[in-house]
């Protein structure tokens, strides 16, 4: 099994390399180290969010509120910075993590204690959090000249050739690798998604594990709130609209099973990078904007097709059962029509 997983990540690496090569053929300089570093930096936020999403998806849940969480936290942090410029950045970042974790905990509690399906909970909090961002700001923007230079420049500071934003993503990846593979919580994530019943008998509280997965996803979304606002130097209610779907897509492309329990950090990171490469390539390969959306969708479907093939055994059984039960009424309908 682990050899198979290794194989899949290698496959994704090959696809990404092929993509970069193809794009570089059309847009010379796309594969230059500087350009690749730019792409990685641009994808950093997606990587961080995708890892949070991965923790949730591993437990057979989904967090659709990450982008709304990012928007609310980003707005809150930007407003604090604008109103109290003397507060040091470290405290603001801690506050971003805290606010994000709190919003994640609300999701987690509703899933754990009230027993509402995660997709319903987070679909609701998605609108609530963005609505709260609106209430908080009154619809106004926090602009570049209201934020302090420290606040804006920190993620851009070059350290050993890479901006701090990229290093943040690398740090998060390292922490997550340790957390997912070397801690009780990390193993509980896999266990409670892979087989909740077995996990229960093994003494794992599945609900509690899910709760903490949501808290983790929320905290990372909060951190990204700060990163996003400082990267684009503006905070308004509609930032990162629809970004939650990118995080889910990154996970799916990276081979994180939406049925829970399967997936690696490398997969999520590669899935994010795959999307990042496409997003950064489309503007430079000189293709009509009307074609761009269609192309990016097509490439994603091709990538996911590989992923679906990998899960054939598990997927097929369910599909066959579902197909059987669905086929009967439709056959009847056809018979009636004839």
């Amino acid at each position: 099994m682990s050899r198979l997983l290794k194989h899949r990540e290698l496959l994704l690496v090959a696809i990404i390399v092929a993509l970069v090569a193809a794009f570089a053929y059309r847009a010379p300089g796309f594969a230059s180290p500087e350009s690749l570093a730019n792409i990685f930096n641009d994808t950093s936020i997606l990587i961080i969010l995708a890892l949070g999403q991965m923790a949730v998806v591993l437990t057979r849940s989904i967090d659709l509120s990450v982008a709304a969480n990012l928007s609310f936290t980003g707005m809150a942090i930007a407003m604090i910075n604008a109103a109290f410029p003397e507060i040091p950045l470290a405290i603001l970042i801690a506050a971003a993590l805290g606010i994000g974790a709190m919003l994640g905990a609300i999701n987690g509690l509703l899933v754990w204690k009230v027993n509402i399906p995660p997709i319903v909970v987070t679909l609701g909090t998605l609108t609530i959090y963005r609505g709260m961002a609106f209430v908080l700001s009154g619809g106004t923007w926090v602009n570049q000249n209201q934020m302090t230079p420290d606040f804006l420049n920190a993620p851009r500071l070059p350290v050993l050739g890479l901006p701090l934003l990229s290093w943040t993503a690398i740090l998060v990846v390292v922490v997550m690798v340790v957390l997912f593979t070397r801690t009780v919580f990390g193993r509980a994530l896999y266990a409670s998604g892979g087989n909740p019943t077995a996990a229960l008998y093994a003494g794992i509280d599945v609900g509690r594990t899910r709760f903490f997965a949501f808290v983790l996803s929320g905290a990372l979304a909060g951190l990204c709130g700060y990163l996003w606002v400082s990267r684009y130097a503006v905070a308004y209610v509609d930032i990162a609209v629809g970004f939650e779907l990118d995080t889910v897509a990154a996970c799916v492309i990276g081979g994180i099973s939406t049925l829970g329990g399967i997936g690696t950090i490398a997969g999520a990171v590669l899935g994010s990078l795959f999307l990042g490469v496409i997003k950064n390539a489309l503007p430079v390969i000189d293709i009509s904007p009307f074609w761009q959306m269609a192309i990016s969708g097509l490439v994603i479907i091709i990538a996911v097709t590989f992923n679906a093939r990998q899960e054939r055994r598990k997927g097929r059984m369910i599909l066959r059962d579902a197909a059987k039960s669905r086929a009967r009424p439709s056959e009847l309908a056809e018979g009636a029509a004839a």
């Binding site: 641009d42 996003w228 997003k279 950064n280 503007p283």
Partner: protein, 331 residues
Amino acid sequence: MKMLAKLAVGTALGLALLSGAASAQTVKIGLVAKSLGNGFFEAANKGAQEAAKELGGVEVIYTGPTSTTAEGQIEVINALIAQRVDAIAISANDPDAVVPALKRAAQRGIKVISWDSAVGKDGRIVHLNPSSNELIGNMCLKLAASHLPDGKGDFAILSATSTSTNQNTWIAEMKKLLPKYPGLNLVTTVYGDDLADKSYREAQGLLKSHPNVKVIVAPTTVGVLAASQVVKDAGKIGQVYVTGLGLPSEMAGAVHSGATKEFAIWNPIDLGYSATQIAYRLVKKETEGKPGSEINAGRMGKIKIGDNGEAAMADPFVYDKKNVDEFAKIF
């Protein structure tokens, strides 16, 4: 008996109105905002007061609801009717909902115009737009040319979505007016969908794939901000400029970083000023506001009334390092 009573009341009312109008020395103009406490409308009021002072014998009553609702505006209109103003100039929260109230005002001889946000044709004599599509397109080209040496060189447009109506209209106007600017060359149009991250990547892509582009014109605030940030992050300040349409409060940072030298948007002070001027001329019967006619608007020159009684005030106002901070406080 009842009829008589009604008649009497009616006559008395009519007389009162007549005498009210006759004895009124000052012209009272009600300036109705979408909502109070909004910097944009406070600025418009500033312009209106300026016009009042200039014209003399004009009292501008600046009012509006506390939230942007049509119901609130209807109450405000009724209150203005009761105060017997001579004219109402309104920026409507709903083009249709306020029409009946405004019609009532018109029946009482009050001259009604709308500005900024239009009222349906039946509800007003004239609508004053801050600018016209043609003027906006022209201004974008003018800004691009002024950022290029001798006004010659390559520029690109960073728009919102490829289906956005106003953006496409402005871009079409720009293309139409392009021959007026010889040497100015539109290389490409890209779409940032009014998303900060996509606009950022598109602008970054522009710098990469079209190194000759020296000016990025973005007629949308998200785009113009994102492009400014790209120019700053790429260390190309002074080599590539960003310009377009944006609010001063949002753009102040980009102007100070040097990514943007100047940009444009309508000036609310001028808008309030012109609305007051037009309302005054209508009250004084200097004009009837018929389509095709021209109205004298003081320092803003003559404003031409177009089809449907819609008028375009002027070129969008240009903001630069000198005045952006002053306006950033307003809107």
